[in-house]
Symmetry: C2
Subunit: 116 residues, 2 copies
Amino acid sequence: MTTTTPSAPETAVACCRPVATGALSASDADQLAASLKALADPARLRLLSIVAQSEGAEACVCDLTEPVGLSQPTVSHHLKVLTSAGFLSRSKRGTWAYYALVPGALDRVSALLATS
Amino acid sequence: MTTTTPSAPETAVACCRPVATGALSASDADQLAASLKALADPARLRLLSIVAQSEGAEACVCDLTEPVGLSQPTVSHHLKVLTSAGFLSRSKRGTWAYYALVPGALDRVSALLATS
């Protein structure tokens, strides 16, 4: 089994102060914007929600294509964006790749947008 | 004084269940993705953070151009995107337009991304 962990520069916002607590620096804004851009797609949000509700917050790529009604290459592209951005991790087991929610990644973005 | 309130279809996600609590419908995913897209820009995040830390969470457009280092038309474009998406409201008072955080708008998006 191989597990792909996101490379450091793209890991879902380890940086940053919350948006509403003070002027964001240019570099904090760049990092948070990149994370939000990875999330700002209907297909990617649906894929995340399907993975999140799967047993163990992990799903086989073989179960992700049909529910979103997109081609396998398109789904793979979206999964790659979410993995690169640090929201999903990827494990290869036998024939299939499995995608799991990275614990805390969505919550970190959520916390940066909360105003209180 | 005139106040621009966001038009209904673009108001920051009044819809939607949280991403991690069940499979999102296509229409919920579309609405949340549109809100995230409005936020997914470094200049817009910085503008929001400057407005948020201003007195009364409101700022004159005349005070928003210099801190982000962009031209006035570019700043106006970004403010329009944030207003259309329901994150800012706009009031005209005398010569200047003032932008205020729409209470609860960022928190609604934050809540939809939180996993617990």
